[in-house]
């Protein structure tokens, strides 16, 4: 998620410095990451950040007409509804991943027993939410199928264009890039999720294009983003 907004700010040509903090969740006004700190203002989550940047005179979606704006918002919800929820499911509801990756990673800044307590608390919170939206009963295969369906829709929408709304990137491009890049480069217990995305060559090309255009030369800052990144691998596998 940190990558989405980093990509967005780079696309707006705004200079950004990424800093890692163990207590980032507590500093954020909404408890969610990422957040930006500009002057004496703190804004979190992609939606409000986009609004904030727009209020300061920078916008990526001004050139879109009303129907296109509606479409962009719908696709952003699709990414949140499917990709983000699937990522959370994998991180917190798949027992193997939880034991081997999530618990150690989430609790790493804290001493025992705080690390276990905090990560169990977070897990309980996420599982409650999954139950409320009906994802608790899903199997891993069903979740992967949902991811595949979402990627298929994104791939069909993107087609052969460089960005989702042709020549210029918008917040949708930043959001999709952030999620797909994370899926492609984060090491999990199995490669199934990664393989689902790799089936769509235009999505891989899209990620590569954005990485080259907005992150080349910013590699050092990019690789220090978000403590949640377990291992970074080149997309050129």
């Amino acid at each position: 998620a940190a990558l989405c907004f980093q990509a967005f700010l780079q696309m707006c040509n705004l200079p950004v410095r990424v800093v890692c903090r163990a207590n980032a969740e507590y500093m954020s006004p909404s408890g969610k990451m990422p957040f930006i700190h500009v002057g004496n203002q703190v804004v979190s989550e992609l939606g409000p950040i986009v609004q904030f940047v727009k209020a300061k005179g920078h916008s990526l979606s001004d050139g879109l007409d009303e129907v296109q704006k509606a479409e962009m918002k719908a696709y952003m919800e699709l990414v949140n509804n499917m990709l983000l929820t699937a990522e959370l499911y994998l991180q917190w509801c798949d027992d193997v991943t939880v034991e081997e990756i999530t618990h150690p990673r989430y609790g790493s800044p804290y001493p025992w027993p705080l690390n276990r307590i905090l990560s169990y608390q977070k897990q309980w919170e996420i599982r409650r939410k999954m139950k409320a939206i009906g994802w608790a009963g899903k199997s891993l295969e069903q979740v992967l199928e949902d991811v595949d369906q979402c990627c298929q829709a994104l791939s069909q929408r993107l087609g052969t264009q460089p960005y989702f709304f042709n020549k210029h990137p918008t917040e949708l491009d930043a959001l999709v890039f952030g999620h797909l890049f994370t899926i492609l480069t984060t090491q999990l217990t199995s490669d199934e999720l990664c393989e689902k995305v790799k089936n769509y060559s235009n999505l891989i090309a899209f990620c590569r294009r954005i990485e080259q255009q907005y992150f080349e030369g910013h590699d050092k800052e990019g690789s220090s983003s978000a403590p949640s990144r377990a291992a970074k691998k080149s997309l050129l596998r």
């Binding site: 006004p29 699709l78 409320a132 899903k138 929408r157 087609g159």
Partner: protein
């Protein structure tokens, strides 16, 4: 669990499974859509679930006056005793739970703030749908598709049910193309017999509205699985609306006027 489809000996529940079953029987409303339109369908359904559904759940199940005077008696009248005493309350608690878990949390600290936010989002969602629909009859031209069914399922109960607290309903009524969209579908696909009023007429109207409401309130995954293999195989194309227009021309009072508050 509702909705349920009963076909001969088969009973299927959950919207996604029902749609899958219908597709396997070669009924597919999206047969003529392009790949991009199919993708748009998924995206707009996600928009409905994320931005409109919380406010709908609130209007029906959490807003005290609405729940006590309309929703609870309505649902209670359809459940057998003693479930009628317990189930509506449980559905109300589940709705509130869902709203708070998905939309609550800092920086929104009170229920009032969450309510304000979800209604703002719902109004924005209605505006977006209205802009997307424009002057077309349906979302993808002149024939209805799965997206039209989903949008109708979300909007029609909000449009037609008489609530004491009508914030969102008032906003919807200002969007004339969405109202026209609902009225069209109601008159073409939900019309009663040619004779008009029948003793069972009002009951079936209530039953239809209840089914629509239950579809809205369903907490399971409403996004249907697009089966590529089925789309490639020969399908029945959807009914063209033009033939129904001719049939509807000779009718007397139209059902929507009976349903309107």
């Amino acid at each position: 669990e509702v909705p349920i489809l009963i076909s001969e000996d088969t009973v299927i529940s959950q919207p996604a499974k029902i749609l899958n079953f219908l597709r396997k029987q070669k009924y597919n409303a999206d047969y003529e859509l392009s790949a991009k339109q199919g993708a748009d369908t998924l995206a707009y359904i996600a928009l409905l679930e994320e931005k409109l559904l919380p406010a709908l759940l609130h209007t029906f199940w959490v807003e005290a006056e609405n729940y006590c005077s309309v929703t609870k008696p309505w649902f209670a009248s359809r459940f057998p005793f003693p479930l009628s005493l317990y189930l509506p309350g449980r559905m109300s608690r589940e709705a509130l739970n869902r709203i708070l878990l998905t939309r609550g949390g800092p920086p929104l600290y009170s229920l009032t703030e969450v309510e304000a936010q979800i209604y703002r989002d719902a109004k924005e969602c209605l505006n977006l749908l209205s802009k997307r629909l424009g002057t077309s009859q349906f979302f993808f031209g002149n024939t209805p598709s799965t997206l039209d069914a989903f949008v109708f399922g979300f909007l029609a109960p909000l449009y037609k049910v008489c609530f004491p607290r009508v914030q969102l309903q008032e906003h919807l009524k200002q969007l004339s193309n969405l109202c026209r969209f609902c009225d069209d579908i109601l008159s073409f696909y939900f019309r009663l017999g040619v004779s008009g009023h029948s003793p069972a007429g009002q009951d079936s109207v209530d039953a239809n509205l209840q089914k629509l409401t239950q579809l809205v309130n369903k907490e399971s995954n409403l996004i249907e699985k697009m089966d590529d293999n089925l789309r490639k195989s020969p399908q029945h194309p959807p009914r063209k609306l033009t033939t129904l227009k001719l049939a509807a021309g000779g009718e007397g009072s139209s059902p929507p006027s009976r349903l309107s508050p």
